[in-house]
């Protein structure tokens, strides 16, 4: 009976091929998100903030950036008038 666990070398060898796809997928998401962030026309504050999220939050970080960080680009009207008048048919 012992506490603690020793990972032995050959066991890492068994884990590696299984973990490799995860690493690759992560790397793809991570690098695409970072490249897109750097290319974007945004303030430095914005880039630092999302950069941190992409780098520090594994897997979820880049996805959060894709879903939320890029939002204003397709949502917000580019003109000064930003809130369309809501009208209701009476």
């Amino acid at each position: 009976m012992h506490y603690g666990y020793h990972i032995e070398i050959d066991e890492i060898g068994a884990w590696l091929p299984l973990l490799l796809p995860i690493l690759i997928l992560h790397l793809i998401l991570f690098s695409v998100a970072l490249v897109d962030l750097l290319k974007r026309d945004q303030s430095t504050d914005y880039k630092w903030l999302w950069g941190a999220v992409i780098i520090l939050v594994n897997i979820i970080g880049p996805i959060l950036y894709f879903v939320l960080g890029r939002r204003q680009r397709s949502d917000a009207p580019t003109s000064s008038k930003s809130t369309p008048k809501k009208v209701r048919k009476s």
Binding site: R73, S74, P77, T78, S79, S80, K81, R88, K89, S90
Partner: protein
């Protein structure tokens, strides 16, 4: 038959009447300005013609047919064209042309012509998100013309632009006007005067004047007396309640006086000036400018 016939057009939101019984028509080849201050109902009228907003009363006919089936014959430039920022200029034109069922090879050719016309050929492969306001406006004009519409409708095409961009677009519209029928809204009289031969002046949802610029000037122009003298405000104050006087506008030491009858008004004014021993520097009878007509009408309605 008129190209566009609008009769007894009405729009209500609840009890609030935004557009009241507006009648006008546009003939083939005309350029018509829809003129009025902000909030007069210009955009609402345009959106009803385009079937974006539904009418609560009246009729709109395009070539004698109901307009909601005819909107493929209308080209439309919105007031704040946003489009998709992730598309390139060319992709947007392909998309819009595709929605109008234009064959691909005809479309390509037409896109090239239009990009050249509006001067966007060099940036056609850049994302719209990177375009300036003026470039978006030009792209908006190109997409409005892509299906060779019978009627081109533009909502405040130059209002949001800086003087340089505004000049460019006005020149472009002058070229387009030679081939198309145009209806465009603006709150700036000068743009309307420069571009169009016909004007519709509206305020608070009502059509005030409808006609060619010549007609409007001839029929509604009123003479104004311009009186210039020091310490004029006291004197004009006494005039306020006279029956003969229609209005007085005081700017600095000059007053613009409108009277109901020119002959009587002139005599009365002159005698009154003598009586008050007003040291006048100038007494002149002039005709109203178009701008003054416009302002007077908008104020009095």
């Amino acid at each position: 038959m008129h190209l566009l016939q609008v009769s007894q057009l009405q729009k209500k939101y609840g009890n609030h009447e935004v557009v009241q019984n507006v009648d006008f028509h546009i003939n083939q080849g005309e350029c018509v300005a829809l003129l009025g201050p902000n909030g007069a109902g210009k955009t609402t009228i345009i959106k009803m013609i385009l079937d974006i907003n539904k009418l609560t009363g009246g009729k709109i006919l395009l070539n004698g047919k109901r307009h909601d089936q005819m909107r493929k014959f209308i080209g439309y430039l919105p007031q704040h064209p946003t489009f998709y920022p992730w598309m390139t200029g060319r992709e947007l034109l392909i998309f819009m042309g595709g929605l109008s069922n234009i064959e691909r090879d005809i479309l390509e050719e037409r896109i090239n012509e239009l990009l050249k016309l509006v001067g966007l050929s060099e940036v056609e492969n850049q994302l719209i998100g990177t375009y300036s306001g003026g470039m978006k406006q030009r792209l908006g004009i190109a997409q409005a013309l892509i299906h060779q519409p019978k009627l081109l409708i533009m909502d405040e095409p130059v209002s949001a632009l800086d003087p340089l961009g505004r000049r460019d677009i006005l020149e472009l519209l002058k070229v387009i006007k030679q081939k198309s029928t145009i209806l465009f809204s603006t709150h700036i009289l000068h743009d309307a005067e420069e571009l169009c031969d016909k004007m519709l002046i509206i305020n608070k949802g009502q059509l005030l004047v409808n006609g060619s610029i010549h007609q409007i000037i001839e029929q509604t122009q009123k003479p104004i007396f311009i009186i210039q003298a020091p310490r004029l405000s006291e004197w004009t104050h006494q005039l306020m309640n006279e029956d003969l006087i229609e209005s007085i506008e005081l700017t600095g030491n000059a007053a613009k006086v409108r009277v109901k009858n020119i002959e009587q008004g002139r005599d009365w004014l002159l005698s009154h000036i003598l009586k008050a021993q007003l040291p006048i520097q100038k007494f002149e009878l002039v005709q109203e400018s178009l701008e003054e007509i416009f302002l007077r009408m908008v104020k009095s309605s």
